[in-house]
Point group: C2
Chain length 335, copies 2
C-alpha cells in the first residue's frame, strides 16, 4: 500500500500543510514537529509524489539558477533565497556556476540543459543580447543589469540610484576626497559602469567634481582585488578620506589593507560597500553597505518564471524592480 | 554547414586544445586569446557538440553536487573546485542545496533527479546509513564524515587528527584554558563530534584535562552562532585564554564578540577556526585555521564518480582520504 500525505499527517498528529512544509524543506518548522513528521515518514516509508505530478504536466520539477561565482557571498545568499522561493512552488533548484565566462554562459543560455529543466533564472556577466537571440524556448528570467533590453523577463535593482545614495552618505559625513574601487572596462562590467555613474553623479551634485585618479579598477571583485586596489590608492599619493567599493568583498579587502597600513576606519578613511552580505555585520569594523532585497529579488524571479512556464510564453518580456536599503555601520559612522 | 572545433581553431589561429579550454570554461586561458576564440566562435556560429557525445553514451553530461548550505563559504569554495574538476572531464555540475534537512537529503539520495544526472556528489548532514539502502543505482560519492560506513564511495579528511593538531598548536602557545565552540548533540553533528574528540584528546595529552564548562554548543555554524557562543563563554565566568571554533564562520563571529568585549586577540584570547576559507586571510586579525585541501577533495570525488559511472558499479565502496594543513595566522600568533 502506498501511503499519502494525509496518512503521514495523521500518524504524526499534525496538519497536512505541516507535513508538506517538512517535505518541501521549509526551515520554519519547529524542530520537534519536524522530528515527529520525519519519524512518521520513515515508519510509513512515505515518498513524496512530486514526480507523478510533474510527469502529468510534462515537467521535470527542476529549475536552474545560473550565477557567475558562488564564492561571491552575494550569489550564495541569493541562491538560498531562490531555493526557498522555488520550494514554495514545489520546484527543486539546481545551481549552475558559469564563472562569468561568456562561452559557458552561452552554453547555459542556449539550453544545454533544455531537456533537464522547466526553466532558468540567470544572472549573466559576459553575455550579450545577441547571445540570447537563438533561445530554444526554455522559459528564462534574467537577474542584474546586463542584457537589459534582451528578449527575456528581468529583475533589476536601480544600481545608479543606489550608488548615488551611498556616495551621498559619504559626502554627508564631510568627506571630500572620496575614492571608488571596482571600475572595469570589459563588457563584463555592466554593474561597475552603473555604480560608477551613480558615484560620479553624487560627486557632481555635491560640487566635488570627478577625479579619475581616485578611481581604482579591479579585474575581479574578490577580497584580494579590494586589498590590492586600496594599497595602490594609498601608495599613489591621492590621499582619499573615504572609499566606495563596488561590492562588499572588495570593501572587506580594503578594510584589511587600511588596517595593515595603520590607518583608522572611519577616522582616517571611511569605507562603504555594496551587496549587504552577512560578512559585513561581523567584520571589524562592521561594514556600511547597500543591501538589495535579495529575498524579494528571488521571489520576483521565481514568480516571473512560474508565470512564464504556466502561462503565455509569447507575451512581451517584463522588467520588475526590487528595492534596496542603505545600511550605515561602523566603517563610516564609527562606534 | 556545421562548423567544428578545428574550424574555430584555424580562424582564431590557436590550437584545438585552446578552443576546447575556452568552450569548457577553463579560467587559465589568456584574456586576449579567449577574446579571439570567442570572436571566431561567434563568426562561425559554432555550437559545442557535447550533447551529441553524451547522447551516444546514454548520458546527460550533468552531475549534481548536493551540499547543505552555500552561504557557508566552505561549501561555496568546494563547489567551485568540483565545477572545475568536472569540467576537465566534460561534465556540467548542477548544485543542489539541501539545507541539511534529512527529508530533503532523502529526496536527493533516492533519486528525484535520477533521469537528469549521470551521478551525484553528496555532502549530507542529516542522512543516516538507512536512508541509503534503497538507492536507485545512480552513481554516488559521499563527502564528509556522516554515513561513514554506508554503501557508497567516500572522500574524507581526518577530522580527529586535524582538531587535535590545532588544539595542540594552542597548547604550544602556552594557553591553558582552551575553550571550544560548535558542539552539537543532534544526529547532524558528526563533524562536531569528531572535532570535539580531537580537541579533548589534545587536552588530555597535554595533561590539561577536559572541562565541560569550556565547551559551548552552536545549533548552526554561522557567524551569529559563533558570536553568541563567545559572548556566553565570556559572561559565564570561565575565562578562556584561547578558543577553538569548529569552523571558520563560527570563529569570525567569535572574533567580533571579543572585539565588542574590548578583549585583544590573540593577547587576551587566541582564536582558531577550521575550513581554511578565503575570508580568514582578510579578517582583522587574520584567522588561524585548519585548511582541508578542497581542490584535492573535489578531484578525488570527481574521479571516484567517473570510475563508478564508466566502470564497475558493483565493486565494493572505496574510501579515500584528502590532506589538510594547519595555517597559523595573526589570531593565534599575533603580528
Amino acid at each position: 500500500m502506498r501511503h499519502r500525505l494525509k496518512d503521514v499527517a495523521e500518524r504524526a498528529g499534525v496538519s497536512v500543510k505541516t507535513v508538506s512544509n517538512v517535505v518541501n524543506g521549509y526551515v520554519h518548522v519547529r524542530p520537534d514537529t519536524r522530528a515527529r513528521v520525519e519519524e512518521a515518514i520513515a515508519e510509513l516509508n512515505y515518498r513524496p509524489n512530486l514526480s507523478a505530478r510533474n510527469l502529468r504536466k510534462g515537467r521535470t520539477g527542476v529549475i536552474a539558477l545560473a550565477v557567475p561565482e558562488l564564492d561571491i557571498p552575494y550569489f550564495a545568499e541569493l541562491a538560498r533565497h531562490v531555493v526557498t522561493a522555488a520550494a514554495a512552488l514545489g520546484w527543486t533548484v539546481l545551481i549552475d556556476q558559469t564563472g562569468g565566462v561568456r562561452e559557458q554562459e552561452r552554453v547555459v543560455a542556449s539550453g544545454i540543459t533544455d531537456h533537464l529543466i522547466d526553466g532558468l533564472i540567470f544572472s549573466p556577466l559576459a553575455l550579450t543580447a545577441d547571445d540570447l537571440t537563438n533561445l530554444d524556448g526554455t522559459p528564462m528570467v534574467l537577474l542584474g543589469e546586463r542584457v537589459d533590453h534582451g528578449p527575456a523577463d528581468h529583475v533589476v535593482i536601480d544600481n545608479v540610484a543606489a550608488a548615488r545614495e551611498i556616495t551621498t552618505h559619504l559626502v554627508g559625513l564631510g568627506r571630500r576626497r572620496i575614492a571608488a574601487i571596482g571600475s572595469q572596462r570589459t563588457p563584463e562590467g555592466a554593474s561597475a559602469r552603473l555604480r560608477l555613474d551613480g558615484y560620479r553623479s553624487a560627486l557632481e551634485e555635491a560640487g566635488l567634481g570627478y577625479d579619475e585618479t581616485l578611481v581604482a579598477p579591479a579585474p575581479a571583485w574578490h577580497r584580494a582585488d579590494g586589498a590590492a586596489a586600496m594599497r595602490a590608492l594609498l601608495t599613489s599619493g591621492v590621499r582619499p578620506d573615504a572609499v566606495f567599493c563596488f561590492n562588499d568583498t572588495l570593501a572587506l579587502g580594503a578594510l584589511r589593507a587600511l588596517h595593515e597600513a595603520g590607518l583608522r576606519v572611519p577616522d582616517d578613511v571611511a569605507v562603504a560597500g555594496f551587496d549587504g552580505i552577512e560578512d559585513g555585520r561581523f567584520s571589524v569594523p562592521t561594514l556600511t553597505t547597500i543591501a538589495p532585497d535579495k529575498e524579494r529579488i528571488a521571489r520576483l524571479a521565481v514568480e516571473l518564471l512560474a508565470n512564464r512556464i504556466d502561462g503565455d510564453r509569447t507575451a512581451p518580456a517584463r522588467e520588475l524592480s526590487a528595492p534596496y536599503r542603505l545600511e550605515p555601520r561602523e566603517s563610516t559612522k564609527g562606534r
